[in-house]
Amino acid sequence: MEPLKQVEGRAIPFGAKNVDTDVIIPAHWLKTITREGMSKGAFETLRQDPANLFDSETFKGAPILIAGDNFGCGSSREHAAWALMDLGIKAVIAPSFSDIFSGNAFKNGILTVVLPQAAIDRLMDVAQTDPVHIDLESQTVTTPFQDRFTFEIDPFRKHCLLGGLDEVGLTLARDEAISAYENEAGATMPWLNKGVVAA
């Protein structure tokens, strides 16, 4: 994973509430076998409108998305995070996110920033004409107009994002503890340690 310290650039003033994962990436995109190229399916239905924000000259490739309440609700498909990533989005700002989506986003190096609706409203205004700046270290969102909003983030997630650390790599470093568990459980619950090797 690439380290993520700051995100700076245009922010798509999307603003919709209850955006479910079917809206972010329709089900027929689940038939792919790679994570790449999913931007084609991102917001597919909305983007059938030629005047959509995502393909506009101003916001195409923008690294920040501003949305309404409960962003990413619905199915657990990680394709939603992959689709945003492939669109070039590195951070989503919203008043709330579905748990599964924010977990999937984090695991793919996308920052989810939770801010109150009033801050979202202000950023939606600014985003029409100017860039937005997110600094993960100081946990702030700022604008060229002296706006400054601070946000909370799980310390573990922050640490992983700043260092570009992948969770699999971190857990692999705990190999000794995992092996110790396997040895112990293998003695007390040997039947669980066998799996497809017929007992």
């Binding site: 076998i33 990680e78 573990f156 857990t171 692999l172 705990r174 799996g195 497809v196």
Partner: protein, 483 residues
């Protein structure tokens, strides 16, 4: 595991699987069994390949294709594979067939007798065991909780994490007891029970919880029935469902291919007997349901919480107090093409689907066959298919002559897979048509774009096939013969 304060079943399984406790309270949890299918695994294997990582415990991993497979014949008379028409489905299947051997994972192939829906295959093979932690990149993994296993669905990055480390970093869930007191009436099945629970808890009532289903009505269920109940825990938002293992569970597991044998079997049973929630242990929430209140249950809307007894009528948005639910109900009714006040038994169906990880085990097929025996499908029912949960279920059903009953009644007898539950394969319900379906989700477009799903039990689906409308199976068949 008998020391200290009284613990729930969930807490006992959790405690037995903690590899490490972190400062923030999250735990690295060991995963005993990992089921892999073709839809949510390709990107996980690809990530391992790109980072040069291996599967830590291929022996604790089992791969089975199920979502994309057509339910028509997969081999021609010469034994050659009949190509899958949809190139994307074929590609996902090919990826699993390449990835499994490359990473040393046992693959049950598309035409093997053991192939089937992962959630049917796991218990059937004795791969899923009581007290085990079981994951799969599929939300209906909750199913295996019917054996007393802690089982839940995960995303693709987590699939990768489990493949590489055999662990997951998790926070402990809250616990909820759903106690079903008394006995289910004649003609009322496990599916009716869980649909009723979906209606009581609503679609998000279980969010943040692991639910343990208890009480006389749950104890009375067969293991197949318990798998049906736990399967739909996710439909009320729960992370997982659990039912304490008992003698019925042990009898179900014993002798299956990957079940423990000999002395290990005895040790395992002794351990499993200690899993039941201790007297005095407390749950974060308790919900009590009276079994006698439950009728054969159907859904009218586009969320599994939209349930109503078959004897009831289509509700009106005004029946709901919550304004957002009123709005959702109005939308659902428009999508479903239903008018408030219509008796549910007047709702005509053009399609019937008997199958899915919720209801495709042998007991489900027997229940449907009991209703269909000596009866025939209504001419207005355009499409009616029976999709067994696995090749072994199929073989057993054929040995019992159930396939003949279905075929003589005018239903199609298919090859095992997920099929019309979600229509990733060619089995879809056409736009605007209704389906009486034994599956688990009645979401907008779930069974095909524009499809209208009514969730029902296998016996109720069979009854709908006979009459061409949603029907109280208790009026159609002698309930004593329903078992």
């Amino acid at each position: 595991m008998t020391t200290g304060k009284p613990r729930t079943l969930y807490e006992k399984i959790w405690d037995a699987h903690v590899v490490e406790r972190r400062e923030d309270g999250t735990c690295l949890i060991y995963i005993d069994r990992h089921l892999v299918h073709e839809v949510t695994s390709p990107q996980a294997f690809e990530a391992l390949r790109l980072s040069g990582r291996k599967v830590r415990r291929p022996d604790l991993t089992l791969a089975v294709p199920d979502h994309n497979l057509p339910t028509t014949a997969r081999r021609d008379s010469a034994g050659h594979r009949i190509p899958i028409a949809d190139p994307e489905s074929a590609q996902q299947l090919a990826a699993l067939e390449r990835n499994a051997p490359e990473f040393g994972v046992r693959l049950i192939g598309d035409a093997d007798a053991e192939q089937g829906i992962v959630h049917v295959v796991g218990p059937e093979q004795g791969f899923s065991l009581p007290g085990a932690t079981i994951v799969c990149g599929d939300s209906h993994t909750a199913c295996h909780g019917g054996l007393g296993a802690l089982a839940f669905g995960i995303g693709t990055s987590e699939v990768e994490h489990v493949l590489a480390t055999q662990t997951l970093l998790l926070s402990r869930s809250k616990t909820m007891e759903v106690r079903v007191e008394g006995q289910l009436g004649p003609g009322v099945s496990a599916k009716d029970l869980v649909l009723h629970i979906c209606g009581v808890l609503r679609a998000s009532g279980g969010t943040g919880y692991v639910i343990e289903y208890t009480g006389e009505a749950i104890r009375d269920l067969s293991v197949e029935g318990r798998l049906t109940v736990s399967n739909m825990a996710i439909e009320h938002g729960a992370r997982a469902g659990l039912i304490a293992p008992d003698d019925k569970t042990f009898a179900y597991v014993k002798g299956r291919p990957y079940a423990p044998k000999g002395d290990e079997w005895e040790a395992a049973v002794a351990w499993w007997k200690n899993l039941a929630t201790d007297p005095g242990a407390t749950y974060d929430k308790v919900v009590v349901i009276q079994a006698a209140d439950i009728a054969p249950t159907v859904t009218w809307g586009t969320s599994p919480e939209d349930t109503v007894p078959i004897t009831g009528t289509v509700p009106s948005p005004d029946d709901f107090a919550d304004p957002s639910k009123q709005e959702a109900a109005a939308k659902s009714l428009a999508y479903m093409g239903l008018t408030p006040g219509t008796p549910m038994q007047d709702v005509e169906v053009q399609n019937v689907f008997i199958g899915s990880c919720t209801n495709s085990r042998i007991e489900d097929l027997r229940a449907a066959a009991r209703v269909l025996k000596g009866r025939t499908k209504a001419p207005t029912v355009r499409w009616a298919i029976v999709v067994p949960g696995s090749g072994l279920v199929k073989r057993q059903a054929e040995a019992e002559g159930l396939d003949r009953i279905f075929i003589e009644a005018g239903l199609e007898w298919r090859e095992p897979g997920c099929s019309a539950c979600l229509g990733m394969n060619p089995d879809k319900v056409p736009a605007g048509e209704r389906c009486a379906s034994t599956s688990n989700r009645n979401f907008v477009g779930r069974q095909g774009p524009g499809s209208r799903t009514h969730l029902v039990s296998p016996a109720m689906a069979a009854a709908a096939a006979v009459t061409g409308r949603l029907t109280d199976v208790r009026d159609l068949a002698d309930v004593r013969e329903l078992g």
